[in-house]
Every structure is written in C-alpha cells, then in structure tokens.
C-alpha cells in the first residue's frame, strides 16, 4: 500500500518534572521540518518546572502553533493518560502524535515517521535509542534501551510482531475512538502495549519507523535506574506472564551456560572455552544492535553490557517477587492483563 503522504498533525507532549536537557528537547519540536503541525503541552499544574520552559519557547517561536493546557484533575489510573486527556480532546487535527518529554526530535523526524504510514496503519511507533548518557547508571540505562529492549524489539519485528513504544505513537483519533480513544487506557499501565493490541483487534497495522527516536539519557541515579526497570519488568510480567517467565532462559548468559554444558556433555568441548565463545558471540551481536540504534556507541559499552547482563538476574528476581511499582511518586498495583490501581501506604 502506498504511503498516505502529507497530513497535518497535533503533537501532544505530556510534561512532568524536569527532564535532562528539557529545554533543548522541547525546542527541537519548534524546529521540525513539516508543513503543518501544532504543539500541545499537557501539564498537571502551572507550578510544574516545565511550565516556564514551555512558555518561554512559545514566546520565542511565535510562528509555531503551540499551546499549554493545564489539567489538574488527575484520576487514580495511568498518570500519563490522565495528563493527556485534555490535550487529546482539544487537538485540532485528527492525526495525533504522542511524544514523551525526554525525547529529542531530529528536524526531519516527523517526515520519516509519516513515510511508514499508509491507509491501513493503525499506529506508527519507533524504537527508543538512548543517547548522551553520562555516569555509570546513565550508561547502564543506555545499554538497557539500546541493547536489551532493542534486541527484543528487533527480534519481534523480524518475526512480524511490531511493538508499540509509548515514547512515540502516531495515530488517528477517529480510529482510536472506535475502541474508546485513549480514555480507554486510563486503567492500563501500558497504554502503548494496549494501543497496539486494540489497533490489531480493529484489523489495523502497527508500523515501526526505520529510525529510532532519541532519548537523552544524561545522568541517572541508581534508584531511578532500578525503579524504572523494575516498573517496566513488572509491567512485562503482568501483561504477558509466559513471556516474562521464559525470558530468563533466553538471556545471553543463560544460553551460554547451558549451551556450553550441552557441548561439553555431548561432544566433550572444554566448558570454559565454549562458554567464553558463546558470550563473545552474544556481546558482538548485541553490540551491533546497540551500534545500529546509536552510532556513537563505543567499545566501552561492552563493559556495561556485561554488567547489565549480570544485573539482569537479581533484577528479574526482584521483578518476580512483587506486583507493585512506584511511578511519579505514586505507588500502583498492577493486575494480570496490565490493569492498574493506586495504593496508599
């Protein structure tokens, strides 16, 4: 099917807190090369640190259609969805792009993204690439995004199962409204996953753009790193338990350990040698993936790769042990199927 060509887009940006390089990230949206778009910033309060940043940029770029909408009514479900409801209703155009605050847009990104859209597309999304990471946990974060998540994302794409990533979701409101719009994701922790599922149930396609979107990682604390991956992991676990519980078997170090054991028992290979050969093979292939996502990935990431692979086991156990997550200062319980509710300590 041929691409749809040009269509005007409302870009919805939920803002919360002060991300690394927020101003530069937001400014990148004012410099997009695209014939017609508007920017709608969603905030829960005008005392949010992002408010003055967005305001300043709107004044700096008067020729760009942009607006801030403050919506203090936040429900007890998915905070990102609650924050978005008002801008979603207010958007001028049928096509909306939900794009997270910590994303940096290359000037021609929308053009590239829309190229993958045709008449049968339900939602267009993109991988996340971790860029400009700093410090130990910043680099670990980039390795998690560009290694682990990209590895599984690319594998899924290869076998024909594209996964929607919430950092970038481009879709038509008129189509989403056929299953209740984004309001229907209010009590789902993974609005992106459900978007893909719902579009599939409608008989529509999920497409993934060729280029990853840039997330500027910056400095990440140990707690931020652990909390985020605990949250994403528990979300994977509750959304698709069989996938989560078998995932540990397909980790590079697990496969290396059992693969070399098999080679030793079956063919008498030297255990340690074949173990190292396995690990090298996985490191090189993951490094290739990381390099594809972010061209500036250097060899030092092999070290972070190894640490991350080792850290995956305690993290996996921690994920397995509970169903609650901390998200934006609030504690949530995730039910099977990804439904979420707040809990008070």
């Amino acid at each position: 099917m041929p691409p749809l060509g040009f269509f005007p887009i409302s870009i919805l940006k939920p803002l919360k807190g002060l991300d690394f390089e927020l101003e530069a990230n937001l400014e990148s949206y004012f410099n997009l090369v695209y014939p017609e778009y508007e920017l709608l910033f969603a905030l829960t309060s005008d005392s949010e640190p992002a408010y003055p940043v967005a305001k300043k940029l709107i004044e700096k770029y008067p020729h760009i259609k942009a607006k801030i909408l403050v919506n203090p009514d936040q429900g007890s479900g998915n905070p990102k969805v609650s924050n978005l409801l008002k801008v979603y209703e207010t958007a001028t155009y049928d096509w909306v792009l939900i794009s997270d605050s910590n994303v940096f847009m290359d000037r021609d990104y929308i053009k590239i993204l829309t190229r993958s859209v045709d008449a049968n597309t339900g939602v267009a999304s993109a991988f996340i690439g971790g860029f400009e990471s700093q410090g130990f946990f910043g680099n670990m974060e980039a390795t998690f995004l560009n290694g682990f998540y990209s590895r599984w994302g690319l594998t899924a794409l290869q076998v024909g199962i594209p996964c929607v990533v919430g950092k970038t979701m481009l879709f038509q409101r008129s189509v989403a409204n056929r299953f209740g719009g984004i309001q229907s994701f209010t009590y789902h922790i993974a609005e992106d996953f459900m978007m893909g599922v719902a579009m599939g149930l409608l008989g529509k396609k999920v497409v993934i753009a060729n280029n990853p979107v840039k997330q500027r990682v910056g400095i990440v604390t140990r707690k931020q790193f652990w909390d985020r991956h605990l949250r994403w992991g528990r979300l994977r676990k509750r959304q698709a338990p069989p996938a989560f519980f078998t995932e540990i078997l397909f980790q590079p170090l697990t496969v290396s350990a059992f693969g070399s054991l098999f080679l030793m028992l079956q063919f008498g290979f030297h255990y340690l040698n074949s173990f190292l050969a396995f690990v090298c093979f996985f490191a090189v292939s993951d490094f290739a993936v990381m390099k594809t996502v972010n061209r500036s990935t250097s060899l030092k990431y092999l070290y972070y790769w190894l640490v991350r692979e080792l850290a995956h086991y305690p993290l996996w156990i921690h994920i397995a042990l509970g169903n609650t997550v901390n998200w934006r200062g609030q504690k949530y319980v995730i039910e099977i199927g990804g439904l979420v509710r707040t809990v008070n300590d």
Binding site: A156, G166, F179, A190, L201, G203, W232, A240, G337
Partner: protein
C-alpha cells in the same frame, strides 16, 4: 424476511477476523442481523488461565475495548448495510470432563459476567441484563473436538432459565434437540470465513435489536442451511495475522511505558 447468525467469534477470542471484517463479511452477504459472541472463559481454573495467556478469551482488561468497538461497529453496520449487530459473549466453562463443560451465549450482554459461577447463575445474570441466554452446541457437535454436555444433562432444571437451545451448529443438525420440544435456534459458531456454510436462523420481524430478541424468545423463527462459495475468501493473510496476534504478547512481552 432476513438471515441471521447469532454465534460468531472475532479476534477478541479465537476467531480469525477482526470485528469490522466480520461486519463487512456478513453485511456484504445481505444478512439482517448478527451477534458477535467471543469466549468469556472461567478465569479461576487452569484451562481458563491458559486461555487467558493465549488471549483466546475476553478478560476484564480487554472487555471495555470489546464493548466500545461493538458500539461503533453497530452504528456502521446499520449505516452501511442496514444490518443489526448484537453484542454477545459465549460464557465458556471448559473442564476435562465433557459432562462438566458448558458454553452459554448471552445475546445483548453489555456488562461483564463472570463465567466462574454455576451455569444457572450465569443464565440468570445474562437475563438480568435483558439479554438472551442460549445453550450453545448442547449435544455432540458431530466433530472431533471438545464437547460440552453439561447443559443438556441438566436440561429439565435449566429449561426455565434458557431462552433457546442450538438445534444446529455449523453444518450439523442435532435431531435430539430438534425432537426435544425445547425452544430452538441455529447458528454457525463461525471462527473462520469458510464456516459460513452452516445452518442459520431466519427471522421475519422489524430490524431492531429488541424485536429480534423477542422473536427468538417467542420462537417466531425458522432455520435454513446457507450455502456460499467463499473459495476466494479466507486467504493466508487472515491465518497469518491471527496466529501472530495470538502469540505476539507471549513472545515479546512489552517494550514498556514511559
């Protein structure tokens, strides 16, 4: 007079077609009414848990999407084809024993019903919503597959709670049900386009959900074997996309929210 089919599965459970595809499939064939009845399995049993992981059942997490999609497709089915689309579910109790297995259709159901209760309670819950409780394939389906005899075994007790019993499922007519003097209905139990060759119910009433449900209650209906050549339909696209849809969450999990 118009043709109707009140037992159809979509991608929300184990059917091959998406709801909009089903609407177009039946609408373009001139049907006057259809009900989409996806499986809603017991969730507290081992088989139910497996069904949930295989995404072959409605769950509380996905049910609101089902209802919303049915609402919007209901309007389109009417505007485009003058066809009535009824929201249904197939409450499914699957046990290793056929004598403990039962499938009950709820035609016109819009609120969640748990399939974990006893069949009599399920039938009552369906009717409490103003919907019809239908005994799906209550006797041997004449196919090599899992059978569901529980409702038939308890038919004397359940008669007051069940609005109709399937006298035909797919291309097979059930003599024992036909001879039983119970209220009847005939449906496809369609999962794939090719299963359109099946017994159907014929109605002669106003094209309106209430009138249709009333015609079934009052048994102002007849049955017809529907022949249709669909060799060009049901191509590989359907088979492939359904399979992938079903295994996708198992393989990939989720890439995570922000």
């Amino acid at each position: 007079m118009f043709l109707a089919d009140f037992h159809i599965h979509s991608k929300f459970s184990d059917g091959q077609m998406a709801i909009p595809e089903i609407v177009d499939f039946y609408g373009s064939r001139g049907f006057g009414a259809i009900a989409i009845t996806d499986h809603l399995c017991e969730l507290n049993t081992f088989i139910g848990t497996a069904a949930r992981y295989l995404e072959s059942t409605l769950t509380p997490a996905i049910f609101p999407f089902y209802i919303e999609m049915m609402k919007s497709e209901k309007q389109r089915a009417w505007d485009q084809y003058k066809m009535i689309l009824i929201t249904g579910v197939e409450l499914s109790k699957n046990n290793i024993l056929n004598s403990r297995s039962a499938h009950i259709l709820g035609l016109g159901v819009t609120d969640w019903i748990s399939a974990d209760d006893d069949v009599a309670d399920i039938a009552r819950a369906i009717r409490a919503q103003g919907a019809l409780a239908i005994a799906a394939h209550p006797v041997s389906t004449r196919k090599i597959e899992k059978q569901t005899y529980h409702l038939w075994d308890r038919r004397e007790e359940l008669t007051p709670m069940i609005d109709a019993w399937e006298v035909a499922s797919g291309p097979f007519l059930f003599d024992e049900v036909a001879d039983s003097k119970l209220p009847l209905i005939a449906n496809s139990d369609l999962h794939r386009p090719s299963q359109i060759k099946a017994w159907k119910t014929v109605l002669d009433c106003e094209r309106h959900e209430g009138a249709i449900l009333e015609a079934i209650r009052k048994q102002k209906i007849s049955f017809k074997m529907y022949e249709d050549d669909i060799t060009n339909y049901g191509n590989n696209h359907h088979r492939r996309s359904t399979l992938l849809y079903r295994i996708s969450p198992i393989i990939t999990g989720n890439l995570g929210a922000a």
